[in-house]
Structure formats: structure tokens, C-alpha cells
């Protein structure tokens, strides 16, 4: 069995989700290579070569891959696929965007967002927003799979010394181009990688009140999240959304403030190790999943919490 993992990276560094995907690769079993497609991505490739369990890193360094355009990266990976039995990527925005294109051209039914490897051809994945877990088996000779990073531990980021090979081919499909991006800039840990996440919901009442969340998050060196209700109400931007249609997180500590606990939100955070809920409605469904529930007015509880941390 040979496995190609498509790295999630921002050229300057490898994203943690790649390390979780390598654990899924190890569970499937086989010689594992990592593809780093980007522009000026040598630093990311170097990190990939140091990750545990990687036998070889393929580096495609070209402007065509600078912004992870699906058309170009998928065309490259499809060319490389001939040498591999399994193609994996984390189920990040890029992974979800790119992998189905590869699978379609390879005439393989892709398997999305696996949460466990039962055997080399059998996997578990959530369906119906995580309300049902399906065990699925693929009879395709080549398998194309995205991996839910929070369901797998990360491999060690250092200690490996994989061979790094530069690829010469450039696959520019010529049908898409990058125009612009607006990325949130923050000193905080990334939402999906943070050990602690503090999230606010509709109970925050407005965007300004998220300052109360921010103050607690500062004390805990935590990432900030939000429920879909808070995002849809315009309190905070969409990249903060935790939930089935937002980001899936599983930190050591998740503090849900003013969040009722809709299924859509629970699907995004219920695998957190410890969940704290602060809500003034003692019947809020969030308390059914919380390890520690505090029935309180968040406008009093948050400043008190900040003061005691």
C-alpha cells in the first residue's frame, strides 16, 4: 500500500491538520508520501519532511499553486495518483475543495471526512450533521479520502527526515485565477488548533459584547468562536463559526457562553474534552452535553471569570 497525503499549509508553515491526517495514513498502513503544492513553499516542505512517518516529500513550487486553486492542485495530484493506492487530505476548506476533483477524474467514489479507520477499506464517517455515524466500505481500487482532523491525534512534528523531491511538472488548468482574499489576522491560536476555545452565541446580544469573550480568551490564551446564530445576526465574521456548517473543533476545554446548543452547533464541538456552558436558561440543551454548567447571566459571569483567571 502506498499513500499520498496532500498537505495543508500556507507556504510558510505546515498546518497541524496535516499531522492528524498522517495518523490516519498510519492507521491505513503503507509507505506515506506528502505532497506540498504551493509557491515559495520550501519552509512548509521542510516541516513536512520532519514529521513522523513520512517517507518522502514531493514539492511542487510554482505560482500556479500559490492560492491552492482546486483546478490546478487537483490536476497535479491526479497525475501523481498513478503511483498511489490511497490519496488523503485533511477535511479543511482546501481538502474539501480539491479532493473531489481528483476522485472524479480517477473514477473513484470519494469518502468524505472519516473519523476512524476500521481497516484499509472500511471507515466511519458522520452523516446527518453527526446525528448518525455510518460505517462504509469502498471497493474502489484507488481510494480518495478526507480526514476530520479532530478525530485523529497528531503525529510528532519533528524527528523525521524524509527525502525531499522537487517536481518539475506544472499543471495550470487555465480556467481559474486568484483575485483577492480577506483573511482574519489575529495573535490568537487558530480556532481548529487551539487547546481552549471560548465561544459566544445569540445571548451575546451584539458584536460589541464579544469584548467580554475576548477578555476571557486573552487570559486563557484561547481561540474565539461563535454559534451560527451569532454569525448570522452579524455579531462576528463567519470564520469564527463553530458547527456542522462551520468549523469542527475538539479542544481540551470549550466554553460556550450564551449558546443554547442547537444540533448544528453541538455537531461542531461535542468532541471537546471538557465542555463548560454558561447560560441563563437552565433548560438550554447545551447543559445536556456540558461537564460543568453555570446558570447565570453572562454579563455578570464573564467579568467575574476574567477576574479569577
Amino acid at each position: 500500500m502506498s499513500i499520498l497525503v496532500i498537505a495543508e499549509h500556507d507556504n510558510a508553515s505546515l498546518k497541524g491538520a496535516t499531522l492528524n491526517t498522517l495518523t490516519a495514513a498510519a492507521a491505513i498502513g503503507g509507505e506515506t508520501h506528502v505532497l506540498v503544492a504551493g509557491s515559495n513553499c520550501g519552509a512548509a516542505a521542510k516541516e513536512a519532511a520532519e514529521a513522523a512517518g513520512v517517507a518522502k516529500v514531493l514539492v511542487a513550487d510554482n505560482a500556479a499553486y500559490a492560492h491552492q486553486l482546486a483546478e490546478n492542485v487537483a490536476a497535479l495530484a491526479t497525475e501523481l495518483a498513478a503511483d498511489y493506492d490511497v490519496l488523503l487530505a485533511p477535511a479543511t476548506g482546501n481538502g474539501k475543495n480539491i479532493l473531489p476533483r481528483i476522485a472524479a477524474v480517477l473514477d473513484t467514489q470519494m469518502i468524505s471526512e472519516i473519523i476512524s479507520v476500521e481497516s484499509a477499506d472500511t471507515f466511519k464517517r458522520p452523516i446527518y450533521a453527526g446525528n448518525v455515524i455510518a460505517t462504509v466500505q469502498s471497493s474502489d481500487s484507488k481510494k480518495v479520502i478526507t480526514v476530520r482532523a479532530t478525530a485523529f491525534d497528531a503525529v510528532a512534528a519533528s524527528g523525521g527526515s524524509a527525502e525531499v523531491v522537487s517536481l518539475d511538472q506544472v499543471t495550470d488548468a487555465g480556467v481559474s485565477s486568484f483575485v483577492s482574499e480577506e483573511l482574519a489576522v489575529s495573535d490568537r491560536p487558530e480556532l481548529t488548533a487551539a487547546n481552549i476555545v471560548v465561544s459566544g452565541g445569540r445571548g451575546m446580544q451584539n458584536g460589541d459584547n464579544f469584548k467580554l469573550i475576548e477578555a476571557v480568551a486573552d487570559k486563557l490564551n484561547a481561540a474565539m468562536g461563535a454559534s451560527r446564530a451569532a454569525v448570522d445576526a452579524g455579531f462576528v465574521p463567519n470564520d469564527m463559526q463553530v458547527g456542522q456548517t462551520g468549523k469542527i473543533v475538539a479542544p481540551d476545554l470549550y466554553i460556550a457562553v450564551g449558546i443554547s446548543g442547537a444540533i448544528q452547533h453541538l455537531a461542531g464541538m461535542k468532541d471537546s474534552k471538557i465542555i463548560v456552558a454558561i447560560n441563563k436558561d437552565e433548560d438550554a440543551p447545551i447543559f445536556q452535553v456540558a461537564d460543568y454548567g453555570l446558570v447565570a447571566d453572562l454579563f455578570e459571569a464573564l467579568p467575574a471569570l476574567e477576574a479569577q483567571l
Binding site: N97, S176, I196, G293
Partner: protein
Amino acid sequence: MKVLVAIKRVVDYNVKVRPKADGSAVELNNVKMSLNPFCEIAVEEAVRLKEAGTATEIIAVSIGPKVVQEQLRTALALGADRAIMIETDSEAQPLGVAKLLKGVVDKESPDLIVMGKQSIDGDNNQTGQMLAALAGIGQGTFASNVEISDGKVNVTREVDGGLQTVALTLPAVVTTDLRLNEPRYASLPNIMKAKKKPLDILTPDDLGVNLNATVSTLKVEPPAEREAGIKVESVEELVEKLKNEAKVI
């Protein structure tokens, strides 16, 4: 400009689904079915393009047993001009759906294909990307804004760190995210009118597509239950528990 909108009939999003007792499949008997929410957004976007004078014709397409006509009539009531049903009782997986849609794209030559980013039953998030790959065209997935000009479409996409805008040569596939628009409701007169709009029926054979499924579901089960914990009385007690009991801060 011709717009093709691909839609799916799914379990209504308000229904709490559960596996059958024998774990063979999800219980779908006597469950309310609806148009997939992301597909509603796709239909709405197409209708807005027509209202803006950009689109001239909207074709809605869906795949499944006879009953998917209900969702196609909904799309017609919302503003689609005509509908195509690809009738099959076989389970169509995303790759099979993409192949069928590719067949429709070859027949109809739309300038833009709009569809939901995923269906809320299978949560695969594959079909739009697969269709774009099979058709050899560009894709703007997880769209929160769509602008068309000069044979191109600029799609603003919801990506992990924020927003990214890409320019795609038409024809192209756009898959919708939640914040693209707020879908309207169909009015009663439009529901009546929709009954008279044309609805063609094709089969997978007509399009030369074999729906052989290569991924089989061995079992479905409820997720592991998370046990409710305790209520604390005060912020002091909460901090004490987090420090000494859970040891997470």
C-alpha cells in the same frame, strides 16, 4: 445566459433522524422530506441572476424516484423556467450524480451551474467539484458572493481563514454556502403556475451513465452519547473545578 440548478430532495432539516433498530439504514418511513437548504440558496441565486437580467433561462434538475418531482415543482414555483428529472430508484452516490449532471450539461450547454455545497443527509460535499472536474471547468465552492461580467464569474468563497475571491472562466460551477442569500418563499399563484411549466423525464440510460455504487454502508449507529455533567453554583466553583478536577487550566 443559461443557468442550470441541480437540487436534491432530503430529510427536512427539522427532523431528528435515527438509525433503524437493525442498524442497516436511517429510518426514512413517514419522515418529512424537503428541498435541501443549500439547494434552496442555489435556486434563489439563479432567480436573482434572472431578475437582474443576467440569466435568461433557469433549468432545474434533480435525480431520484418519481417523488423528486415535488422538489422540482418547488424550484419551478420559486422561478425556474423548466425542469429535468432523471428518474432512478437506485441510490445515486456523488460520483454517479456528477456523471448524470455532466450528461445534462452536455445536452443543455449552460453557462453557469449552481448547486448546494452539500446535502444535509450524506454531508459529502463532493458533487459540484466532481461535476466541474468531469466537465473540465472551474469551480467556485462555498460561495458567499457571485458576480458575473464579461464571460467570467467572480466568486467570493468562505475559506478557513476568512474569504477568498477567485475569477472563473464561464462555464463554471458555483456551490452555495449559507450566507450567499436568503431564499424566498414560493407564492400561491407561483405554485399554481409551476404546475404548468415543462418537466422532462430522462433515465440514467438515456445519458449513458451506470450508477454502480462502489461505496457500501455496512452499518449506521447513533453517535456516542455524551453524559451530562454537573451544575456549578458560582464562577468561583467553576474555576476551582477546571483547575483541580478537570485540570484543563
